[in-house]
Amino acid sequence: MVETHSHSTTLSWEILILIAHYLDPKTLAIASCVSKSWLHSMSSDLLWKPILTTHFPSLSTLPSNVSYCRLFALGHGAAKRRRQTPSKPNLSLGDLIFAVTITSNRDFSMIAASLRIFLAGVDALQEDPPGVFRFCIGFDCGGGVAVRNEGLEEVVKVTWNVVMKGWRGVFTLMDYVGKMGFVGGGEEWFSQELPAPGCCSKVVASSVVADMRVGMCGCGESDDGGGKVKVGKISVGILNVDDWRSSSTEGCRTIMSRVSLSCRARDPCSIHQWSDTPTYCNGRKPE
């Protein structure tokens, strides 16, 4: 069959024209890479227009000077992204450090500050019932904690940052200004809505709040006979305001995802990855 091959170039050209209309988009695209002449014919608008109209009709109605082949590739990419499940964040608590501070909003002096460093694989959940996402950050009664007179009420700024070990990323879970009362044995409670992930955070409310509880303890007497009070313990957690519960899985997921986001460039399409439906949250704020 020597004669076949001597005509092979013209042979394939005619065949090409005949079969091009029978090729699926993928094969058509691959065929475009075969040679220069194939590229020219396989990427022709005539071939791609019906394909685009079938698969992504909305794209085919847009006025554009982009080739139909290119539009198909864009539509294909969008459909694929939509189907993708978000990748599981590959972080564990052991990668994180919680840094909590309470400072006076008046003179920015430190009232209380502490770190909670997690050991990989060990630290999971705390004294609250198992399955609850709450962490205690204690203080020893030594230095580093400011003392106030009993009964004082002060405007304070509370912050809770999550830091990735190695300074790979930092995410602020709480940055809140509110009033704190210094009453021995009392408990102060601050909560702040976490912004919805992704690019719509200013528009859409999330149903997740960061929550901080500060326990006050008396520590001796002041000169005028009144008591002295300081921060005794702090606990932080993540709450879902749909049911005002803090689940460990949800809390972990929230923290991990946001910290890993802070390590990477934000992808505006990530809003579609969250399975939480954002609802408006009437977060309880301290008086």
Binding site: E14, T27, A31
Partner: protein
């Protein structure tokens, strides 16, 4: 008279002469499925031998058999017997002779055989030389990255 004539013409035999000189005697109604032949007959009614210069005897035989036997079942099995070279030549024959059913069957078969295959495979099948420079090829592969996912290994 007209009836007799039409009866006679339905069993009238025609000779088709392939490019390599092989002769085929076919019934008129079979030959008429080839629209090119039909046009020939329309032009000169008394013709008895029609030259088919583009098609080898071996392929013309296959084409004639297809016309005689075509049905859904036959069509499904038809293409499996032939290698890629024969399929291409048969397609060209069907195209020249203007037999739409056979043409469609063969187009689908050839398309199926290169479905989800790499460019190298396609080049080999059709004996095409890659005239892209390495840079051009890399650029194209990047542009069509979405199409290369899940492609069959050669």
């Amino acid at each position: 008279m007209a009836e007799e004539k039409s009866q006679a013409s339905s069993s009238k035999m025609l000779t088709l002469k392939a490019s390599d000189g092989v002769l085929f005697e076919v019934e008129l109604n079979i030959a008429k499925e080839m629209k090119t032949v039909q046009a020939y007959i329309d032009d000169c009614e008394d013709i008895e031998t029609i030259p088919i210069p583009n098609v080898l005897g071996k392929h013309l035989a296959i084409v004639i058999e297809y016309i005689k036997k075509t049905n859904e079942e036959y069509d499904a099995e038809f293409e499996k017997q032939w290698n890629m070279d024969d399929l291409q030549l048969l397609l060209l024959a069907a195209n020249y002779l203007n037999i739409s059913g056979l043409q469609e069957c063969l187009c689908k078969a050839i398309a199926k055989r290169i479905e989800n295959k790499s460019p190298e495979y396609v080049r080999k099948v059709f004996n095409i030389e890659n005239d892209h420079s390495p840079e051009e090829e890399a650029k194209l592969r990047k542009e069509y990255k979405w199409a290369f996912e899940g492609v069959d290994k050669d």
